[in-house]
């Protein structure tokens, strides 16, 4: 058991609010890598808009490439916030406190970044509004509700709206904290955002109920979003996409990459914002245990996808599977994917010593995300390359530099937005950190003192 520091409210305020009130070197330096990546992406998108989609590797029959792969990847990552925060809230897991907000905010930024991809992919982004919104009042033609491409924006918009509302409402007490600790224009702005919060017992009680109720409401959305994203593929009649297992397979893959990304984020937060007093080795240990279960479930679905294809004994289906497993470059991608997503990290995470080693957890979480990105490529591209087998359409998709720059920029953008967010409000909820201190009481057992948590048990206190 790691020694848990005893913190005072003033100390918590100082340690969590410094990025808001000052701009230290470590915070400023952290902006540099994302900004470099974003510059590359902006240049690439500018060239793409100016020159047209021919600068990408998209050609017949593969018109879905890196942009869609990356779109699916970021939607997947966005599942981390809900998975971590909603489930931990509902189960009232004590260790949720320092990571819920960062995970929820990452959900929002991943969704925003993922939404940029179809826009860029359209080639003429300024026209996308005509394709998405019901606009044609004069002719009475509306978007087709039977199309997964209509379900998709509705599900993502629901998830994004819900996540923003979730984060905003839980932020109100921290807005009030910043309001009280600042002066001038900052006080005025945060005062407006805090809506006049005073911290009465009624307000705190409603905050608690809100966390539980909103978690219960957002969990069904969380499951539906990636199911619907998977139906973008599964509802088509493309061999190897047209499988019923895609929805749960996508959801569990999303959770695997998302929770791993939370691990990456936890390590980065600890290093950049000096949050050693809040994000402990115990947290890495707990998330590591969770990931062992998630990764194993993901592996089960990975094999299930193959099993379903083999049982159909359909020539087209088997041809895609053969391509995925034995043809270059997909054979290499498959091996790298399985090793980085499962074979390397899981045996390591089985060891308690590794789970409590933060640099190792950081690098293994990066490995998982490389693997899970490749998984999306592995699922999408081989199938679409065989969409039409006429000889003159038979070509391989080779991503261009422009597409690669956009993919890299997406990582930079999520990082940049998170760093910017940390400049505005604390990434660790200050009021939850203080609540953790109040409910904590060391319990003496003979010669041993263990940290205990006091819980309210009466149902009426929760609901």
């Amino acid at each position: 058991m790691q020694d848990r520091p005893t913190l005072t409210p003033t100390q918590i305020n100082e340690e969590l609010l410094w990025p808001v009130f000052s701009f230290r070197k470590r915070h400023a330096l952290a902006f540099i890598p994302p900004m470099i990546l974003i510059s590359g992406g902006v240049a690439a998108v500018t060239i793409l808009i100016y020159q047209g989609l021919w600068v990408t590797g998209l050609q017949r029959p593969a018109f879905w490439g890196f942009f869609i792969v990356n779109f699916v990847f970021w939607i997947g990552v966005s599942h981390a916030g809900t998975m971590i925060s909603a489930i931990l809230r509902l189960t009232q897991a004590e260790w949720k406190r320092p990571i819920t907000r960062a995970a929820e905010v990452m959900t929002i930024f991943s969704l925003v970044v993922s939404l940029l991809h179809p826009v860029i992919h359209a080639g003429r982004p300024w026209r996308i509004i005509y394709w998405l919104l019901p606009y044609d009042f004069s002719r009475g033609i509306w978007p087709d509700v039977r199309s997964p491409l209509v379900w998709d924006p509705i599900a993502i918009t629901t998830y994004l709206t819900g996540s923003i509302l979730f984060v905003f409402t839980a932020l109100i007490p921290d807005f009030a904290l910043i309001r009280d600790q600042s002066s001038g224009l900052r006080k005025k702005i945060y005062g407006r955002l805090a809506l006049g919060w005073r911290g009465t017992p009624r307000q705190w009680k409603l905050q608690g109920i809100f966390g539980l109720l909103m978690s219960a409401l957002i969990l069904p959305v969380f499951v539906s979003v990636h199911s619907i994203v998977s139906w973008d593929f599964a509802v088509s009649v493309v061999p190897a996409w047209h499988v019923t297992v895609y929805a749960p397979y996508f959801v569990i893959g999303a959770v695997h990459s998302g929770v791993s990304m939370v691990l990456t984020l936890m390590a980065l937060m600890r290093w950049i914002f000096k949050l050693e007093n809040y994000i402990w080795e115990d947290h890495f240990d707990a998330v590591g245990r969770l990931l062992i279960v998630i990764a194993t479930l993901w592996l089960f679905f990975f094999f299930l996808d193959f099993a379903y294809s083999f049982y159909t004994r359909e020539e087209q289906e088997l041809a895609v599977m053969e391509r995925r497993l034995f043809e270059w470059p997909f054979n290499a991608i498959t091996v790298i994917m399985v090793f980085t997503s499962y074979v390397i990290p899981i045996p390591l995470w089985l060891s308690r010593r590794v789970r409590r080693n933060i640099p190792l957890m950081f690098w293994t979480s990066i490995l998982v995300n490389i693997g899970m990105w490749l998984e999306r490529y592995f699922l999408i591209i081989p199938a679409i390359e065989r969409k039409n087998e006429l000889t003159f359409l038979w070509s391989n998709y080779v991503p261009s530099l422009i597409e690669s720059l956009v993919v890299l920029a997406s990582f930079g953008m999520v990082g940049f937005l998170l760093l910017l967010f940390a400049k505005v409000v604390p990434l660790v909820p200050a009021w939850e950190a203080k609540e953790g201190v109040i409910f904590r009481e060391d319990v003496q057992f003979g010669e041993v003192t263990l940290p205990g948590i006091i819980k309210e048990t009466e149902e009426e206190n929760v609901w």
Partner: protein
């Protein structure tokens, strides 16, 4: 009442604040006359207070119904506006509509829940945290705020001071 005024005792810890609440009660003040302001949540009843029931679930439920109805009307109306038969299937594609209804039900339930939390928390307050407030509350201090008629303000102040209030904040007249 319009002529009521606020007075607040600022306490350094939970025990003195709870004592303040006890003193107020023995001075004849009732639960509705005072409220507690804290920088973080405490277990309910820590200051002898009882939080009145809320109707948050009503907001969530009504939001769900509204979202479901809007989604049903929207999907049905758009399909009947241009009744194109595809694959010999009915004009109203119920399974596809259900996906949109599911999302909209949850979307509106979430929007209404947030509205409910804000409304039930008595927010937003046009006057901000004031008129009587102390910024030390978010530093760990506890405020015991009494709303009463002007002639009882002295009595409230005495009770708060007797319990060990570090400071007394009065509403400016």
């Amino acid at each position: 009442m319009a002529d009521n005024k606020d007075i607040m005792g600022v306490f350094a810890d939970v025990d003195t604040a709870a004592e303040g609440a006890r003193q107020l009660k023995s001075a004849g003040f009732v639960q509705d006359d005072y409220d507690v302001l804290t920088g973080n949540p405490y277990p309910e009843g820590a200051f002898g207070e009882h939080v009145k029931p809320n109707r948050l679930f009503v907001f969530a439920l009504s939001g769900g119904f509204v979202g479901f109805a809007i989604a049903f009307l929207f999907t049905a109306a758009t399909q009947t506006a241009f009744p194109l038969v595809t694959g010999g299937k009915p004009i109203l594609a119920i399974p596809a509509m259900m996906i949109i209804m599911y999302e909209m039900t949850l979307l509106f339930a979430m929007i209404f829940t947030v509205t409910g939390v804000i409304f039930e928390s008595r927010l937003p307050r046009p006057s901000g945290a004031g008129p009587v407030y102390d910024t030390r509350i978010t530093l760990g201090y506890i405020g015991l705020i009494v709303t009463t008629s002007e002639d009882r303000l002295e009595k409230a102040e005495e009770a708060l001071k007797a319990a060990g209030a570090e400071d007394i904040v009065r509403e400016s007249s």
